[in-house]
Symmetry: C2
Subunit: 270 residues, 2 copies
DNA sequence: CCCTCTACTCGAACAGTGATCCATATCGAA
DNA sequence: TTCGATATGGATCACTGTTCGAGTAGAGGG
C-alpha cells in the first residue's frame, strides 16, 4: 500500500509532486465544503500528523470494526489524548471523510479500452467490491457522505473515461457511473453484515452458513398453503455463494446499461 | 451503537401469544432468532403495549429522524420512563426490528399477473422506494438486519409469486428478489442522505439543489487537462431528478434480469 | 378479606460516547 | 528575550444504551 507520506497535508497552492506509487498524479484542490480544520503554513514539524491519524484509524477499523472506533481508543493507540485528535481532524466526521477517501484510493481502475468497455466496467465493480470486503466497514462509512476527495475525483474521472470510450451518451455515462456505485454499495451492504471484522464472534453468533441454514429451515417450516413459493424455494435461499451472486448482479447491470444506452442512442439518432 | 455482545436480553423459554394488533392475516410463527423478550399469557391490561411503543417510535422517527430516537426521548413521548420500554422490547435493537417489519408492511405488492410481470416488478420497486422516501431512516434501520417478520415474509412470498409467474427459473427468481431489494436500498441510501426528515436544516445546510450546484461548479473548476471527462460532464451531475434516475435504474435492472433469465433458460433447455 | 405471585413500572446509576474548555508546552520569527 | 502561532491533553459536559432493584397493581386462591 502506498503510504504516500505527503508532508504538511493538502493545503492550498503548493504544487507538490505526489509520492512514489502514485507517480505524476496532479493535485486536486479540496472541495469547499470539506469539514476539516484549515491550517495555514506548513512550517512546523508534525509530531502526530493528520496522515498518521488516518492510517491508525484504518488499522483500528480493520482490526476491530466500526463500532470499536472511538476517538479515545484511537488516541490511545497513538499514545496521545483524545482532545489532540480534534486539532488535526476537526471531528470524528472529518476523520471519516479522510478515511473514506483513502480507501477509495485503493480501488484500481484500468485505462480505458473502447473494445472492452463492458468487461472493464465489471472489473471496476469487482475491484470496488474487493475493497469493500477488505474493509467491511467502508460502505457504512460512506453512507451520508458524498466523496469528493482527491481519490474519489480520480476514480470518477477514470470510470467516466471507460464509459465514454464505450460510446455511452453523456447522461448515460454519468448515471451509469453513479448508479453502479449505488448498486455495488447496496450489495456489499448486506454482504458485510454489521461491518465487523471476519473473526471474533464470541457468543452464540451464527456463521453466515449457519444463519442461511436457519433461515432456510424456517422458511421450509411455514404453512405451504399460504406460502407456496417461500416453502418451495427455501433451498435457494441457502445459496450463499456471494461471488456468484455478485457476478449475476453486475451481469444484469452492465447488460441492462448497454441496452439502455443503445436504445437512448437510437431515440436520439432517429 | 454499543455492545453487540448479547442483544437477547431475555431468552427464557415461554410460548408466545401474538398480540391483538394483527388480526385476520394468517399467523406466521416468529423466527427463532428474534431478539425480543418472549411474553406468555395476555391476561393483563396493556397500559403501554409493545404495539404502542412501535407506533410512537415511528412517529418520532418520522418527525425528528433516526438520530433523534433515543430510548429516553421515546419514553418521554409515551409519558413513561426509559426502563419501562426495555421490559416490552428487550433492547433498542429489538425495537428497531419491530419498526422495520411494520414499515415493510407498508409496501404494497400486486397480485401476480404473468402477462405483465416486468411491469409488476417495477411497481414493487416503486412502492418500496415510496416507503423509503416516506420514512427516510428506514434504509438505515434495515442495515445489518435480515427482516424475517410477518410482513417481510409476506412481501417475499408475493414478490416471488410475481417473478415465478414471469417464468423466471427458481434460482433466478430468488436472486432477482434479493438483488432488487439490495439495489433499491443502495439507491435510496444516497437519495435519502443522512436520513433526517425533509424539513429543518437549521444552519448553513445546503439544499440538495444547492449541493448539486456546488458539486458541479467544483467539478467545472478542475484542471481540464487532467480531468477532461469530469469537467466536460459536470453539467450532468447537476441533474437531480431522482425519479428519472430511479426509473433508469429499474429499467436497467428489470431488463437485465429478464435477459439473464432468458439466457439461463436457453442454457438449461439446450 | 387477606395473601401471594406475577406482570409491570421507573428513579437511579454505570460505563461509554463525541465534543469542548482551557491551562500548558513547544518552537520559529522578531 | 519576547511574542504568538502551533500543538497537547486532563478535566469536564451532555448524552447514549442498558441494568438494577425497589416498588406497584391486580387477579386467583385460601
Amino acid at each position: 500500500m502506498s503510504t504516500e507520506t505527503s508532508p504538511a497535508a493538502a493545503d492550498r497552492a503548493a504544487p507538490q509532486q505526489a509520492g512514489p506509487g502514485t507517480a505524476g498524479l496532479p493535485e486536486v484542490p479540496p472541495p469547499p465544503w470539506q469539514r476539516l480544520p484549515e491550517r495555514s503554513s506548513r512550517r512546523r514539524r508534525e509530531p502526530i500528523s493528520r496522515d498518521a491519524i488516518v492510517d491508525a484509524a484504518i488499522a483500528l477499523l480493520d482490526r476491530d470494526g466500526l463500532d470499536a472506533l472511538s476517538m479515545r481508543a484511537l488516541a490511545e493507540q497513538l499514545g496521545t489524548g483524545a482532545a489532540s485528535l480534534y486539532w488535526h481532524v476537526g471531528s470524528k466526521d472529518g476523520l471519516l471523510d479522510l478515511v473514506l477517501d483513502k480507501l477509495i484510493g485503493e480501488v484500481a481502475i484500468p485505462d480505458a479500452d473502447p473494445a472492452r468497455w463492458q468487461e472493464q466496467v465489471k472489473e471496476v465493480a469487482r475491484n470496488q467490491r474487493a475493497v469493500s470486503l477488505r474493509h467491511p466497514y467502508v460502505v457504512r462509512v460512506s453512507i451520508g457522505r458524498i466523496p469528493m476527495g482527491q481519490n474519489a475525483i480520480r476514480l470518477s474521472e477514470r470510470t467516466l473515461a471507460i464509459m465514454r470510450a464505450g460510446g455511452l451518451p453523456p447522461r448515460m455515462a454519468v448515471q451509469g457511473h453513479l448508479l453502479l456505485i449505488s448498486t455495488i454499495n447496496g450489495f456489499t451492504l448486506d454482504e458485510t453484515g454489521v461491518g465487523d471484522p471476519p473473526g471474533a464472534q464470541p457468543d452464540g453468533a451464527p456463521s453466515p452458513q449457519e444463519a442461511a441454514e436457519m433461515a432456510s429451515a424456517y422458511l421450509r417450516s411455514l404453512p405451504p398453503a399460504h406460502f407456496p413459493n417461500l416453502v418451495g424455494l427455501a433451498a435457494e435461499f441457502t445459496l450463499v455463494d456471494d461471488d456468484a451472486r455478485f457476478g449475476l448482479l453486475i451481469d444484469i447491470f452492465v447488460d441492462g446499461l448497454a441496452r439502455a444506452a443503445a436504445s437512448a442512442r437510437a431515440r436520439a439518432g432517429g
